[in-house]
Symmetry: C2
Subunit: 225 residues, 2 copies
Amino acid sequence: MKPFHSYQNPSLAVDLAVFGYSKQTLSVLLLNRKEEPFKDRWVLPGAFLQMEERFKDTCSRVLKTKLGMDDVYLEQLYSFDEPDRDPRGRAISVAHYALVNPARVAIAAGSMANDVSWFNINELPALGFDHDIIFQQALQRLRSKITYFPVGFELLDDLFTMPELHELYECILDTSIDRRNFRRKILDSEYIINTGKKREGSQNRHPDLYKFNKKLKKNSFQINI
Amino acid sequence: MKPFHSYQNPSLAVDLAVFGYSKQTLSVLLLNRKEEPFKDRWVLPGAFLQMEERFKDTCSRVLKTKLGMDDVYLEQLYSFDEPDRDPRGRAISVAHYALVNPARVAIAAGSMANDVSWFNINELPALGFDHDIIFQQALQRLRSKITYFPVGFELLDDLFTMPELHELYECILDTSIDRRNFRRKILDSEYIINTGKKREGSQNRHPDLYKFNKKLKKNSFQINI
DNA sequence: TATCTTTGCGTCAGATTAACACAAAGAGTA
DNA sequence: TACTCTTTGTGTTAATCTGACGCAAAGATA
């Protein structure tokens, strides 16, 4: 299908800030480019829109084919339109961010495997294109979102303990949060449910296992960490 | 310049939810379409991106040429990509919202004049395209934003009174707010400055005139209405 | 049984907020 | 001038929320 107005449109792409949390570290997934421009530089994964694709379709395609991931939390972030953001020509990027549990996704071990890697968000290399800016904005959005909406569980296993959730928040917000006050706020918000089970194996007291409360009314949720 | 990858791109446009506040009413600017599709229906103003234009450029062009407006507050909202949102073919819209003071902008009295009109946001007709959705999202964003960031003054005159600001908040948030508590929060936030002058002419006590504090550090601002 | 660490639960003072009282200012009117 | 009516500016108080912290229960080890 041709565009129905006169001038030649810019290229249209999505870029993805894929966040993962593992071993008390928040990481982002980067791709090592094998072609110009920005050959050998690390960039956010992305792709051009294909015929009839919606943004989320393109994102899912990238997540599936390049990274072997299915069913991840995805949110549109912002559209970037600096004319010179891609040296090949005018290209517009509709940036998204994704939250995944790295334990659940095995990065596809294909030919790409060596070109994809998790990076601690505090130890990022300089990225190609305008991806530094996109990443910073994604991180800011994640930090803002998690303080008032329960997206944290997207990064954890189905069952998780209170100390695990607590550490996740401290890690994402890069601040220390009083353990006991955190517990109270989270429990008051009713966004998690105590399963009655306990996480076994640790040396000390075995913490309760919680699960996310899926019946939570979307608008009733409000924490202020 | 041609796009540097293989397939034919969708059309790219911006749509604008232009909010105005006047006489204790929050309004949005609508355009009456004179062509198919959606002939004779009201829609948000918008335009296709022209060569080398950035989103904000296109927005400014629409505001200037169709509405005769300059220098308005503008913020990117969201990008809409439903494949059938435009019956003419695939078109992507990067929606923005704008805040203007209707008293300061005279809607251009050209051939378009009869086709442009302010509508009370509570009395909107059914809009063409997917503009109902875009508008609702814009309204939601405005409501959310105004509770934590001082954008209200964009809708008012340079000098305004506390009751005027108070009414604006009540109108936008569609709720009643205790006058005295509101005053305290706003003053504590230091985002407005008492000019010492008073608004004359009213029958009763003459209220103080305030102005926006432009030296306010962007990140220090935080109200919770 | 004692010790060490982690986890769960509770307390309390200080800060914030909501609800409300009241006086001052301005204009009209007897 | 004195009184009324309405609006605006300021303060008070009780309820609520938040941050800081104490302490005991649970589990493993010595």
